[in-house]
């Protein structure tokens, strides 16, 4: 799907839950990526 119906713009997202995970050491060390989470949720919304 070349034309996704959304623009992933992390700067606009005020997502307290995800943002809190991004600051946790074990999440950072594991390679946790907030943008992967956002991408998945947006894909489920626009599929």
């Amino acid at each position: 799907d070349l034309h996704k119906r959304y623009v992933l713009s992390e700067a606009h997202y005020e997502d307290p839950f995800i943002k809190s995970l991004q600051t946790k050491k074990e999440y950072i060390a594991s390679g946790f990526r907030a943008d992967y989470v956002y991408d998945r949720m947006l894909t489920e919304a626009f599929m």
């Binding site: 606009h12 947006l42 919304a45």
Partner: protein
């Protein structure tokens, strides 16, 4: 989504879904009537009263009664999963498995009570929330055998399709995209409350047939429309280039499509509104409905007990 098994095997028109349910009921009704015939032939000494009682009480349940009973137990799955502290998606998958099971099996063949725990346990496994059958049985106050008894039948009735796309992730996605599209115009605290309310409404929607008629995003937008029409409309206008043409004759808000190449927003709005209507058609059977129907099933499957 069109490649998903949820779309390919588990989306129906309302007519088709009604047909499926009545076919299942008809199959078992025929069998029950045949069994009844055999029973009456093998019990020639029944008195007139007994015969009359059997004729009245030992009758197969109707498709609607089946639907009531299935919905009653599906609702119980959600509350039971809550008590077991199972994640939302696991509970949603259990409801999905349970309701799909009774699209190819009748409550007269498989007592919903027996399938109840199997769908919950299988949903835990399918959603990577694995717990041993013994500890599950203990929490559920049943036996491991009872939990596993219909596992194969369940998997087969699911047509071996286990992946569920529930509207919860779509809700999270729209929660993000609304912030982007309406950036600076939404109060985040308020949005948090909207999100929580919508999540609860999604769980209720899983108990309706909307999940067979619409896609998860459509269900989510329908729930958002119910939750906060103004917010939803503003989002639709900006996102899908809907412009509100208030000059129309009958004063009714008409939506004109500006950029036809994008999603057909008018069409989308129609779908969302029809989805909203289906979600609002909640079937909430009372406990004594369930008790009566269960008794009827018992009599129809065991006329001697009448």
């Amino acid at each position: 989504y069109r490649h998903s098994t949820q779309y390919r095997f588990w989306s129906f028109t309302p007519e088709r879904l009604a047909q499926i349910r009545s076919d299942v009921n008809a199959r078992v009704t025929t069998k029950t009537q045949l069994d009844m015939k055999v029973f009456l032939e093998s019990h020639p000494n029944l008195t007139q009263d007994e015969l009359a009682a059997i004729k009245v009480k030992a009758v197969p349940v109707s498709p609607h009664e089946e639907l009531l009973l299935v919905n009653y137990f599906a609702r119980m799955i959600l509350s039971f999963a809550g008590k077991m502290n199972l994640p939302t998606e696991v509970a949603a998958t259990a409801v999905s498995f349970f309701r799909k099971f009774f699209l190819s099996n009748s409550v007269m063949e498989f007592p919903p009570k027996e399938v109840f725990h199997t769908t919950l346990f299988f949903a835990c496994k399918s959603e990577n929330y694995f717990m041993g059958v013994e500890s599950f049985a203990k929490k559920a106050k049943t036996s491991a055998d009872a939990v596993l008894k219909h596992e194969f039948k369940l998997l087969e009735s699911l047509n071996f399709t286990l992946m569920n796309h529930h509207p919860y992730k779509a809700l999270h996605g729209f929660f993000l995209d609304i912030q982007n599209v309406l950036s600076g115009k939404v109060d985040m605290k308020y949005m948090g409350q909207v999100y929580t309310n919508c999540k609860k409404s999604i769980s209720d929607a899983l108990l309706t047939d909307a999940i067979y008629f619409y896609t998860p995003p459509q269900i989510t937008l329908a729930i958002l429309l119910t939750e906060d029409e103004a917010l939803m409309m503003r989002y639709m206008q900006l996102k899908f280039n809907l412009n509100v043409d208030t000059s129309s004759a009958n004063g009714q808000k008409e939506f004109k499509q500006e950029d036809p190449s994008a999603i057909n927003a008018e069409r989308l709005l129609e779908i969302i509104k029809s989805c909203q209507a289906v979600i609002e058609e909640k079937i909430i059977p009372a406990k004594d409905d369930a008790v009566k129907i269960t008794a009827k099933i018992h009599y129809s499957q065991n006329p001697i007990s009448v």
